[in-house]
């Protein structure tokens, strides 16, 4: 795995930082931006068997022509889990798997498809993301999950 830049925000009153900025400028300049008024629903909460509420913050990756949409949502017990839905087109519609990813928890998955064929998921969020209730991949405090979701 080669080096990647990490986007950080050390002060919430200031923009996030990453470098070098010239890469951003050159990337934007090379794009032909076409506006469209179209938007379409590609995954809905009732279509996710294990989820109960708060479906949000997805990311998508592709492998061998199949697209995988990763998303957080609360399960039937009110615990945030991360699930996956599949489609053969990037604009869906995506079909959710029957259950969330075993062992997955918290919110905001971001997927990195590395050039060596490995895929990495980065996730997490305190309070609203319930990460404070977990220790060593074990839910240690259901009470915290229920009572201290300050950002929701």
């Amino acid at each position: 795995m080669k080096d990647y830049y990490v986007l950080i925000q050390v002060d919430y009153t200031k923009p996030a930082e990453v470098g070098p900025k010239v890469r951003l400028c050159s990337w934007i300049a090379s794009q032909k931006i076409i506006y469209s008024n179209s938007s379409m629903q590609i995954l809905d909460l009732p279509d996710i068997p294990w989820a109960s509420q708060q479906l949000w913050a997805p990311d998508v990756t592709e492998k061998h022509g199949e697209y995988f949409l990763y998303f957080p949502a609360k399960d039937k017990d009110g615990v945030f889990r991360i699930g996956v839905a599949k489609s053969h087109k990037p604009d869906g519609k995506f079909k959710a798997e029957p259950s969330y990813i075993p062992g997955a928890y918290s919110i905001d998955p971001a997927i990195l498809a590395d050039s060596d064929g490995c895929y990495y998921m980065y996730f997490g969020g305190l309070w609203g993301g319930q990460l404070q209730a977990w220790n060593n991949n074990t839910l240690v405090s259901a009470l915290i999950v229920i009572n201290r979701e300050q950002s929701i």
């Binding site: 923009p15 934007i28 479906l55 949409l69 998303f71 971001a110």
Partner: protein, 69 residues
């Protein structure tokens, strides 16, 4: 978060005024340029149901949408 095509696109919103996308109002976007369609940016947002109805910040009826720009 790592700098991928999606991160760069999200950052562009902060750099350019007006925003690159103004046709739907959502949050937590992920954006990708797929190999089979290199001239299209696929933006995956969430939360808001219908931008024409001035939805709340956190929708009670969440869906995930895709918008092309």
């Amino acid at each position: 978060m790592f700098v991928t095509d999606s991160t760069l696109f999200k950052m562009s919103v902060a750099v350019y005024d007006p925003p690159l996308i103004s046709t739907f109002h959502q949050c937590d976007p992920a954006a990708h340029v797929w190999k089979h369609d290199p001239n299209t940016v696929y933006v995956y947002g969430s939360h808001d149901v219908n931008s024409t109805k001035n939805p709340p910040v956190v929708s009670l009826d969440p869906r995930i949408y895709i918008g092309e720009s």
